[in-house]
Amino acid sequence: MPPAAGPARTPRASRLRPTRKALGLLVGAGALFLVGTNVQSGWLLVGTAGVLALLVVGIRAPALQCRGVEVERTICREVIAGSPIPVSYRLRRHRRSGAHLIVLEDRMCGAAGRTLVPRVPGRASAQATSVLPAAHRGVYAGGPIILSSGAPFGFAQAHVRLEVPGCLTVLPAFETLGGLPFLEGSGEGDPAPTSVRGPGHEFHAVREYRPGDSLRNVHWRTTARTGTLMVREFEKERPARALVVVHGSATGPSFGSRSSTSASRRSRFTNPSSPTADPSTGALDRACEAAASLTDLSLRLGHQVRLVCAGPASTVSYRATPPSGGPSSSGTMFPSAQIGDREVSELRPALHFLAAVDASEMPVNRLAALAAQGEEEGALALLIVAVTSSTQSDEVAAAAGSLRATGLATGVLLVCPGETIAESRARPFSGEDSQSLPGYPADVGACRNAHLLAGAARATGATVWVWESGQDLGDVLAGATSGSGT
């Protein structure tokens, strides 16, 4: 995989902070001096001088360890949310003396991953590898690396912050859904494809030969019976279209986008466990995971999928086409792990699209109306709304209504804030540390609001599901839990 873009070099100035050991040493030196002066013991004065010298050198030395170090990060381009992220570093020392005991803290994806580099030889380089804790969905364009060292004695800690460019797309996790009646056409608003003549594999009828027909399709038995050249006619395979609309609104104070555009903003990744974290971000992550899961299912069922969300200026969309070969009923087209080793499939670009989805100010009904424009007959629509406590029920109802008005079989999935699929998957990877992928704060108000919204959406005739925290998405969509169904 192509390397990360460019190393970053430590600036001249570093932050130096004496530790408590230094204070203890100072107190010890003072005690030695007092006792030595009082008893006139020259050796205690020698000890005082030695301890003070140790203090001075020990405080100064860490700053020299962190200077003149260049760091280059090599990280995979994409990973599924909830999976640990392998990363390697190359540190190069531009000074003649080596650097020792450098702790490298990578904050590219919010939660920090630490690794210890025992030694970087002078005018040479050292390699180090680490595994960053699982990250949330998003596009991470570089991030800070903090180099720190207290070598050799730990009397002070020197910290240097480097902005190391890099690029990582954390794709939303998704579930391999077994099936969904809504998508397969067994429920109300049947989205089954209309039978139309055309090129395909399914037999439709027998007709007279027209010039241009392939002689391979001649139906000899009928020809022999009627005496006229007759050919087989097949059904035109027109895959059904699925319109997946993802909406998440930004409520409360704005927070730094994960897909930040400048080096200075890259570090402003919201820590979900911080008091200022917005639960709507968690709901949006879950909404994208649901969209990914449903896109995967749709593609396997042979639907062409158009993903729509609100961008900074207008709606942005992505069209995913199932591969030739028809629907696949076996397994997922895109396993949840091993993303870097699989063949390119249609789901990957869709996941990339969903990775970059950000909160927007556009109301959900307007988004749905824009999305529904120009949709052809025979499509179905899935409106996935990341619910907050301020999401308006009339907006959701109007959104569902817009989609229904264009003749689309409409399903509405209301997503409450809660544990994402990525978070639930990250727990086995974290080992002793169960907080490697911090969870978003709960929002009880949003859950209550979701049921109100569900009622309003059902009144429009749409199929409605409510995905609450702690519920399995497949079960919810299958209607196995309360709050779902038509």
Binding site: P2, A5, G28, L32, V35, G36, T37, N38, V39, Q40, S41, G42, W43, L44, L45, V46, G47, T48, A49, G50, L52, A53, L54, V57, A61, Q65, G98, H100, L101, V103, R114, T115, L116, P118, R119, V139, A141, G142, S149, G150, A151, P152, F153, G154, E163, P165, C167, T169, S259, T261, S262, A263, G311, V316, S317, Y318, P349, H352, F353, A356
Partner: protein, 738 residues
Amino acid sequence: MNRLLAAIRRANAPGPSEDDPLLRLAVLVTTLVAFAAVATQQAVAWGSVALAAAVTTSASIFSYRMRRRSLMSLKAVLALVLTVLFLQFLAAVRFAVSVDQTSQPLTRLFVYVVALHSCDLPRRRDLAFSLAATAALMAVAGVFSVEGGFGIWVLVYAVLLLASLALLHASEARENAGVDAGKAQTGRSGRTRVGRTTGAFATRLSAAVPPLRAAGGTVLPLVLAALAVFAFLPRFSGMNIRRMPMALGGALPAPGPEGTLFNPRLGDPGPSGMRPFNPGAYFGFDDKLDLRVRGRLSEELVMRVRAPEPHFWRALAFDTYDGTSWTASDRRTHRVGGAPPIGLPAEEPGQSVWPSHEVVQTFFLESAQPNVVFAAYQASELYFPTSSVRIDRYGSLLSPVLLEAGTVYSVVSRTPTATPDELRSASGEYPEGLIERYTALPPGLPERVRSLALATTATAPTNYDKILALESWIGANTRYDLTIGALPSGADAVDNFLFGDRHGYCEQIASALAIMARTAGIPTRMAVGFTPGTRDAFGGMFEVRANDAHSWVEVFFPEIGWYEFDPTHEVPEAVGAGRGIFRPLETLRSVAATLASALPAPARLGLLGLAGLIAAGTGARSLGRGLRARAARPKPRNDPAARVARCFEDLTRHFADNGIPREPWDTPREWHGRLRRLWLGPLPEAVDRLMGMYEAVRFAGYRPAEAEAAQAEKLLAMARAPGGGKGASAARPRGRNA
């Protein structure tokens, strides 16, 4: 209260155990070295130290193996043992009469505490406490130390301490980074399997190399910094908390009636009344100071003195000159005694209110000495290992026992302090009888001595100026010489010195000053003792040798007292010498002298030469390297084409920082195309223009003018400006397959 309990619980909460055996080994060895150091300085008996070392070693192994277990029963046993040891300590110091007598039992108790502490060292913090305890032990050993050889222990300990600190920090850094270097597997029961130790130990050994290398790199800066700090450390007088050591080397009473001076190393006087010369014994420590004695004293170490400042260590004084020797007209002594400290009366009435300052000295005798108590004049308190001493009218102190090697005693003296102006302005009544006693001259003293004195002091307005004038004359007109011939029979020693070849040593020189001053009516007397000696730079003690024996003159000033004058040039003046708080130059000189004296002469020369060669070689090598690097450095081109190219490079760096790097395989145009594709919003026009300029310069051979190069720099600034620089992430898909 709850907060306090919570804090106590937090402090005692079991934390992660320290698994690095190398760190534990380093701490163990450091502890053993500290034990050995206190034993060699006789702060603790060797038997106690051996026991403590054995306990510490086995306890360290035990606590390593049991580090993951909570050993509450062990803690209880340790508490019990410590209580027993403390009771033993109390029993040992029950009859102590001074703080000094508690020092050895206390040190022994501390050694046992450190040994027992080694039984329970699960965490890194516990090992750090052990290291701190070893530092305290070394400090105790330093207090007890009187010899320069303690420096070897200091060096060894310093190396081990640095290594331990480095390994301690390395372990801390690994824990912070969540790295386990060669940690043994932990089974389900919580016990540690230490199988496959070879592989794990080898891993640990290799993991220890970087921190030890880092520590090794700081040795030279440490040594230089320590030297600088040591030189500039203030030297206060100290001794505010009196912990006065006293010890007797032997307890043989001095022969003869009480109050008799006895010098065991002086032979019996011959027919001429002169004692034979003994290079190890100063002839002045006798009933009389015979100016006829000739000889060179040895360099035998006589004693060590711990004092805040140099002084003459006075023994005796003489007031009567008979032409060939000095004697004391009144050798009566009276007994002074009591519990330490023994209070000593002032020599003259009212002396207690005359200006003076306190000097505390401790004497450690290294060889047998006469039963005279050496001290700076004038002793006011005495910490002596006998219950009493005898004092004469001149303030000299006589011990009832012979002073053998190993005798230790302490003296608090109140030395007169007066500025030259105060000495000049000294006036007032002399105590009764003082003038007669201390201005008496022998009847046979030649008149030319008086004439010389009067002529030299004719223009001196005060007694102090007269003394200075006489000293100047002596310094300018006489020479110090230990090889002078015998005094002619019947000759006056002072007259022979002043009007003979004017060569002599301290006895002749001081006698000349004393007698000439007497002829001018100034009360003087002769004092004998030792010069301060050479100061050990590290131990801080004055080392006094046999050839430091000396005689000088004491001059009486009313309302000030007896003031010391040393007319012998080349001998450092006691008054005002080394009294400053900051003495960096003197300290550095004494460090150099101490280090040089520790080496034999050829080695000294060789080392000096080697050091010089290394310094010259290093300097030349650095200079050569610097010159070569300078010559090899590519000179920055400042022509316009180079400037345009630099602007383009800076532009690529700017966009790399914003998430759109130029890949190594990108041509400028390909990169520009990617910029346009990935940049949200329109690309700043400055970028396009700068691109165009660069392409023309780089690929079309265009030679830009100065103005165009300046314009390129402006375009770069515009491209970097905040308004023209914000864009999207490099890899943000725009609704299509990325």
